[in-house]
Symmetry: C2
């Protein structure tokens, strides 16, 4: 579990660096599918991760608006600001936590902590895959998505 979170954070940070080298109109441009722009996909990844982690930590729900994070610099700071709390969940995850029930305020359903962490892993990889298509539309080389063979 921890390995896939660390992979996602590394790939996310590489996309942040990639975005810093692009024209802002290109990363803000409305596109088909996903959250409809590169910036909005990255914002959504961080937003969803923080929301579920706050549910696990039993902290009040957090509903940030994209309009409060309108640039890549804002989204990078958003991601970095909550990383310690997110890491506290991931690094303390255990077989006991696996089955622990969590009831998010925005849902009628209860989920296990294990299912929430697997949901977050899949959620981020899915939206990053979408960004890789948009990078090719821009005639840019996307960040590598390979799990094996990456620099740690």
């Amino acid at each position: 579990m921890k390995g896939l979170f660390q992979y996602n954070w590394q790939v996310r940070d590489e996309w942040f660096d990639w975005c810093l080298k692009q024209q802002s109109e290109e990363i803000e441009k409305k596109r088909s599918g996903g959250m409809e722009s590169i910036l909005k996909n990255l914002f959504h990844i961080v937003d969803v991760e923080v929301s579920w982690m706050y549910a696990i930590l039993d902290k009040p729900d957090f509903t940030p608006a994209f309009s409060d994070y309108p640039s890549i610099q804002h989204i990078i700071r958003f991601s970095e600001a909550y990383r310690p709390e997110v890491e506290s969940v991931v690094f303390h995850f255990s077989s006991t936590a696996e089955q622990k029930p969590v009831k998010p305020s925005w849902s009628e359903d209860t989920y296990t902590q294990g299912d929430i962490l697997r949901h977050l892993i899949a959620h981020e990889i899915h939206h990053i895959g979408q960004i890789s298509i948009w990078a090719r539309e821009m005639n840019r080389i996307p960040v590598s998505a390979s799990y094996v063979g990456r620099q740690q």
Copy 2:
């Protein structure tokens, strides 16, 4: 680990069903990024999964050509034919297997079985995310990628 493989197989089968309802020209159409078509992405997902699993099982490398699997029906049969061997690795995975070294014939490097399985999980979700963008380009609703809340 097992949960994310089962999620991927379920999502993959839903995309197979989705493809069966589309015009073949649309799922064969050359697109930007990924493996450059919906069919080629799906073929690639199965091909890469089988190749790594065969390396784990110490079976001779398997290098199928896309031209041998030119339709969605061929790719469905390809996926189904190898599922039992793939499942035999996933369902027998344990903390002992985690660190077991695997040397694929196509690589100079050795990988742990745990890293290979995490690579396969991320690889499939990534390429499925790409297909979801192409579905929207076709004005079609993509298969849900949510891990939580899906029918088992």
